[in-house]
Subunit: 342 residues, 4 copies
Amino acid sequence: MINIGVVGYGYWGPNLVRNFAELSEAAVTVVADADPRKLAAVQRRYPAARTTTDAQELLRDPAVDAVAIATPVGSHFELGMAALRAGKHLWLEKPMTETSLQARKLIDEAERRKRVLLVDHTFIYTGAVRRIAELVRAGDLGRIYYYDSIRVNLGLFQRDVSVISDLAVHDFSILDFLLGEHPVAVSASGINHFPGTPENLAYITLFYGSGVIAHANVSWLAPVKVRQILIGGSRRMIAYDDLEPSEKVKIYDKGVSFTDDPQKILEMRVGYRTGDMLAPKIDSTEALRVAGEHFIGCIDSGKAPQTDGRLGLRVIELIEAATSSMRGRGETVYLQRQEKIA
Amino acid sequence: MINIGVVGYGYWGPNLVRNFAELSEAAVTVVADADPRKLAAVQRRYPAARTTTDAQELLRDPAVDAVAIATPVGSHFELGMAALRAGKHLWLEKPMTETSLQARKLIDEAERRKRVLLVDHTFIYTGAVRRIAELVRAGDLGRIYYYDSIRVNLGLFQRDVSVISDLAVHDFSILDFLLGEHPVAVSASGINHFPGTPENLAYITLFYGSGVIAHANVSWLAPVKVRQILIGGSRRMIAYDDLEPSEKVKIYDKGVSFTDDPQKILEMRVGYRTGDMLAPKIDSTEALRVAGEHFIGCIDSGKAPQTDGRLGLRVIELIEAATSSMRGRGETVYLQRQEKIA
Amino acid sequence: MINIGVVGYGYWGPNLVRNFAELSEAAVTVVADADPRKLAAVQRRYPAARTTTDAQELLRDPAVDAVAIATPVGSHFELGMAALRAGKHLWLEKPMTETSLQARKLIDEAERRKRVLLVDHTFIYTGAVRRIAELVRAGDLGRIYYYDSIRVNLGLFQRDVSVISDLAVHDFSILDFLLGEHPVAVSASGINHFPGTPENLAYITLFYGSGVIAHANVSWLAPVKVRQILIGGSRRMIAYDDLEPSEKVKIYDKGVSFTDDPQKILEMRVGYRTGDMLAPKIDSTEALRVAGEHFIGCIDSGKAPQTDGRLGLRVIELIEAATSSMRGRGETVYLQRQEKIA
Amino acid sequence: MINIGVVGYGYWGPNLVRNFAELSEAAVTVVADADPRKLAAVQRRYPAARTTTDAQELLRDPAVDAVAIATPVGSHFELGMAALRAGKHLWLEKPMTETSLQARKLIDEAERRKRVLLVDHTFIYTGAVRRIAELVRAGDLGRIYYYDSIRVNLGLFQRDVSVISDLAVHDFSILDFLLGEHPVAVSASGINHFPGTPENLAYITLFYGSGVIAHANVSWLAPVKVRQILIGGSRRMIAYDDLEPSEKVKIYDKGVSFTDDPQKILEMRVGYRTGDMLAPKIDSTEALRVAGEHFIGCIDSGKAPQTDGRLGLRVIELIEAATSSMRGRGETVYLQRQEKIA
């Protein structure tokens, strides 16, 4: 039984508490939030949990084995570092930290203390993304040509982070999980339509050494909600619509083949292939439950989580590069990955 | 009655011949194509039209009042210039020419000879785009925030032009028509997945002096066909799906309002507004017919077409800028519009 | 403050308890269920509520003002009658009772004792149905021609009631609410594909004196889930898709007009009219909350609920007539409404 | 080379002429229509074809091998009989005749003279229906439970036939082709909303000896166009949407299984199964072309067409039964198939 303390009971914290409370091998021991009214709500729903307005007290509590932090990103580093130093395993909401330097320090601390550090890139734990990853890794798509994502809707405007940190972050983590490759360059454009606010609309292009090109179109200012990803490969192509209730992932037996046929060279050397479409059954277990069980399993086994600090760091590096490019109106930013952490 | 000669009877030429043949104030007098089999098809369907394999003969034919050119873009300039010099009115398929210099020369020639020069940017003549333009110009959308277009499908790969010239060209012309403003900067990314071919996938961002940001996502390598444009304004937003048979244009009474309410400032200074959605009845007259009648009308009246050479030139300038940026991996290209032509 | 006792904590009971608990003018005082494990769940979530395995005890509890019954339909009459005789106001889940005779007796008892009797035909309290009713009553659709409903999905097969009682019951209540008219005849076809079970698929046609024809296609054996209603009027037509997240109700300015124009009589005397489509903003308050507040309001004011026992009875009469027709392979059943209750 | 005469150049005749003209083994020799303007249109498009306002002349023309009749249904019998008596092979548009007696006489005449008689039930020649038939016949769906069709749109109102003859006729032919079984009973409801016109909306239920139930919902008075068929089987289920451009047929690995598991019997004896969905590639050859080639092939080989007179007759019998039931407000009509023709 892992005893968990949750810091932050705002937008996402209640989901964490509910989810950990439902796991048979975990218990929510303490919940911390600066707002006493929120803690009162915790007491009503979870009479067995203690509450406190003092996060530091929670972090020092010897009854707590692991800490989950769901506060605004500005406090992730400080709270996370304190938790690790107190010997706790650490669950951090995404994005991991404000800067890649902070992320490196957390990774370093966790490794030194042999604590589990999981960053909650939830999409990695969805049935849809896991199924797509199986297809990609098994070579069913052939050589990957591109990844093209649209995540737009009306709101929720954020105060402290841009739409890149809020929405494109999902694509950065999914790409890392699917491709196992870090981009070599990033070009991004974006705009804040309202002075003094973070960018609310952005277009990000990622270039990979293997030739893959990836693109994310993210916005808080669209009249319709869209969550759609296209992935093109030499053998098959995928359309993944996360809003579709029952057929989220469609696998198209479609493609293009190049030829040396002299007849066709006279035109264009392209042949088109089109076949069946398959929408495989997708595991519909709630992603947060899968992630929670994975966290507990990693604490028990000592293995690194699938969304460990290193993946979290690579995502932060992409946020930094994209933000830098965006503020330079699309200027290409080249990524030089440091092999060593810290 | 305007007598029209059509040069090129390949992919688009048959549509031009059919369309001009159906207009009561025009007649197709001659059709030229290098392929005698295609001319035989013309003879069967239009026994009254003459045919020739010699385009120059057509251009010199005194019975021809206006010439429509539907050949590959590489021959547009030469054929168009010869037609103008022979005193003909000129209809050019899009894109107008290979280079902006060629476009300037054609505009100059047409103006000197007082001939009508229409570039067939067909979308400008659709009921959907004309209805959207009315809304934009009447201020119904309020201040325009963004224009976001997706034009993707599987094929048709082109030999001589990139996907920008083939697909993004539609967005360039629509943007010019809607905004009446030329971008100040362009950033584009793209890729040719098959060596030795033009780019088959591209992402283009346009920045406008008024603050509008526009984006086009174009591809010949998508498993599904999408033709969708979102336009966001401060008062209303539009979703235009060109593949939707009956409700192409949807006007959303949705938006975001900023506030100085101190309560809201504590959170984010944003209020959301959501209301009715209206799908107005759209004129379904074939765009080519509208364009054809407009061409005849301009010849009669001496007025400039809505898609005149200058609009065609501005589109070519955007193709050039986007291509230049794309080949520099997203490097921003600034546009300095020359006020004077030629 | 109205104190409410809820009988039955199976499929729908938890929704009732949650909903009444959230109302400021109501409190859930007691919950009864035969299964102690379910009562334990109540205790955990609602420590302030008493629980009992003895429904009779709840019905006799002087602290209870109103009773909500969410048990299988077979016990509705007995429990409901006991509640009324104990002087409680009564909320009954749909369908109201097993037979129309039982329904008449409950209505009679409630009227004699001046108690509120509400049958939970939830759809009547949705924003979509209320908006459609406004349009119908204001004459915006013109003369109503037809109502056509499809409610199909895979499962949930019921043991005690047919698909008519489970799904068509929604259409019966909506039709009653929209038209304010009772059908004169019913013809239904249906089938139980698995011997010894109730019908799992049925087609019901209702004929109205005013000329309206209504049809419901209901099934537990469809590969896709559909909840769609078309309503045709002489001036406008409606398509209502309850699964559509944001544009549930679409109002089409479309129709047919008959003419005496001799030209048109030679063909068919029909002219078609097609115009804008409007998807009005729909109030998205949870229907159960609207119903709960309405129940409390009726208790306070003594007014009859919009879904009172008489509406519930008319629905039961339609279920009986449709079932009778269905078991006679579509034989028409004529409805003779008794003016007097009991 | 089969020489074909086409009678009737109204709504469907032009499609027949175009289609036969494109077949390499057929030629359109003569076209007859009462309206000289229509014949002028034939002359312009098909200079090689003769035209006549006298259908009898066409029927007697010794140069004609086969006659295709695309006139209103009221003249099908007289013209078809004359064609057969003149020794021609016969292609009849659907519905075959006004009465089943007329259909029997035509079948008899064709068999006596050993002429091919094809009724143009076009859907049987579509890639979608042929693919579904393969699945049904191979047992891939398991035991068939139901067939449920919706064919609704706004217009075209017909003068001489009801919506059953116009739209439900497609379902009658598809059902005959898929099931190879004739219904034992029919129950139909319908209405003509405009006095003096045929029914414009109808609901038809067909009962089969094997236990299959089929339903067709047809209307000329719907605000949206729908062409959707659901077919449920014990192993798989199909959703066929004829308006879907690329994925018309979806095969769901979904179903219900009944059990004797005592645990489950306590609830309902039903288990649900849900798996992948497959949208197979569908042959997109125009159905009319497939039918035309099939007609020529049958003339050459002497084999009976897949949509021969007997299928056409069975469809007429269903139209008659459904119409009879509809005019009796859903009264069940039992079908007693006569084994012998005439």
